[in-house]
Amino acid sequence: MKKSEFPDPFKEARESKGFGEMDDQNDPVTMLLRLKDVRKSAHNWKTFQSGATPGRIVVPSEVNIRDTRQIPFEVDPPLHGDYRSLVEPWFKRPLDPAYQGKLCKIINDIVDEVLEKDTIEVVSEFSLKLQSRALTLLLNIPYEESETWINWGTHVFRSDDSALDGDKASILYDYIDDQIEKAIENPGEDLYSMLLASEVNGKKLTKEEIKGVMILTFAGGRDTVINAVTNSISYFAEHPESLRRLQAEPEIRGKAVEELIRYFAPLTHMGRVVTEDTTVCEHAIKNDSRISLCWASANRDEKVFENPNEVVLDRKINPHISFGFSHHNCLGATHARQIMNILLATLAEKVKSIDILEAEENIEEWGEFRRKVGFEQIKVKFNAN
């Protein structure tokens, strides 16, 4: 199998019954696998709630490692909409040409950097750096701050390493507390300061609420962006013709971004807590149990996508849900899309080919399903155009 091939482990369960079941720390999860069911349930916030105990809608659950509510992600309408409209304009800044110019410089620099080297490990030496540097733009803080986050390594927010969870999470939480204090003393043009100066429903945001927004901003865009970038590099390594095509037909770039994001589905699923006895696919789901919305499975639903297991670079109709669906769709999607778009442009312009020297897959286990989501590490050589 090619390194850039990401098989669909959900096919059989999706077709035969539409759901899967898994245990997560004694709080079981029914995974919804079909695109229509996932969309409908994502839309139905009354029955499938986000505003549950903080950490419970995440799979694996983070109930034991945090109390801070992530905002607006762990809040339901109508309050959700009040928070969301406060932060939305900020997270749409990547549409601004000046922002894009800065992002372009960051990505150009890092591609130039790796073209100079013999070999590099993509996850830690390319994707992590790129993600961290780009995040300084999203927060609107000095570039140098990215050094701190790069030093944390790729795993600081991970929660499947349960012995270390709490410790790892507290590095981030303490850091955010500090940054909030600094912004109180010295308000600037950054996201912390914007939040400190804001009100929702006539009330100033509390430090705890600001922390909730910031944790989400850090955690939501970390391994997801790292996987999207790393996996795309593996794809171009094995499909140099696609790089040439993007160079010759820059107009398909937007479609290519959506297709890579559909295919790789950087976040496998997200949970909800059920607020009343209900059924999905004729399967009974009890009040106060959990479901998950499996974006990765939905994106390969053969009822919707032709050749779902192939990367069709210029796929025209592509109703994927890698950025989620409905009220809670990904706040960072605009930033993520810009990163991918500029990355594709830069690679097409500067890179002739990429050789994979060594790769170790990152396999997730969800009950009966084993899903490749990215790479633990992948060593490559970039060759200049």
Partner: protein, 102 residues
């Protein structure tokens, strides 16, 4: 050339002319408020939802099945809802009026 009018939810009316591309692209180029086109027109974001003025609906025709599935769950969907990234600009659309849903 097709003359196309967008009416935003704040009742601002914007009339533009074009002969190619999608209606979403046209709206984004002219900064029509409420049409974001986040996914670039691949039918995945529904940020290009419009209501076609009923008397012009014949010009644009029915949505495809995939588009209908997207619209079904969008807020304030109507019988005249379309995703404007799924409509190509052509002579046939001349005079059409689209009310921005958001």
């Amino acid at each position: 050339m097709a003359k196309i009018t967008f009416i935003t939810s704040e009742n601002e009316s914007i009339t533009v002319e074009s002969n190619s591309g999608s209606v979403m692209e046209l709206a984004v180029q002219h900064n029509v408020k409420g049409i974001d086109g986040d996914c670039g027109g691949v039918c995945s974001c529904a940020t290009c939802h419009v209501h076609v003025a009923p008397e012009h609906f014949e010009k644009v025709g029915e949505a495809s099945e995939i588009e209908k599935d997207m619209l079904e769950l969008d807020d304030n969907v109507s019988d005249y809802s379309r995703l404007c990234c799924q409509m190509e600009v052509s002579e046939a659309l001349d005079g059409a009026v689209f009310h921005v849903a958001k």
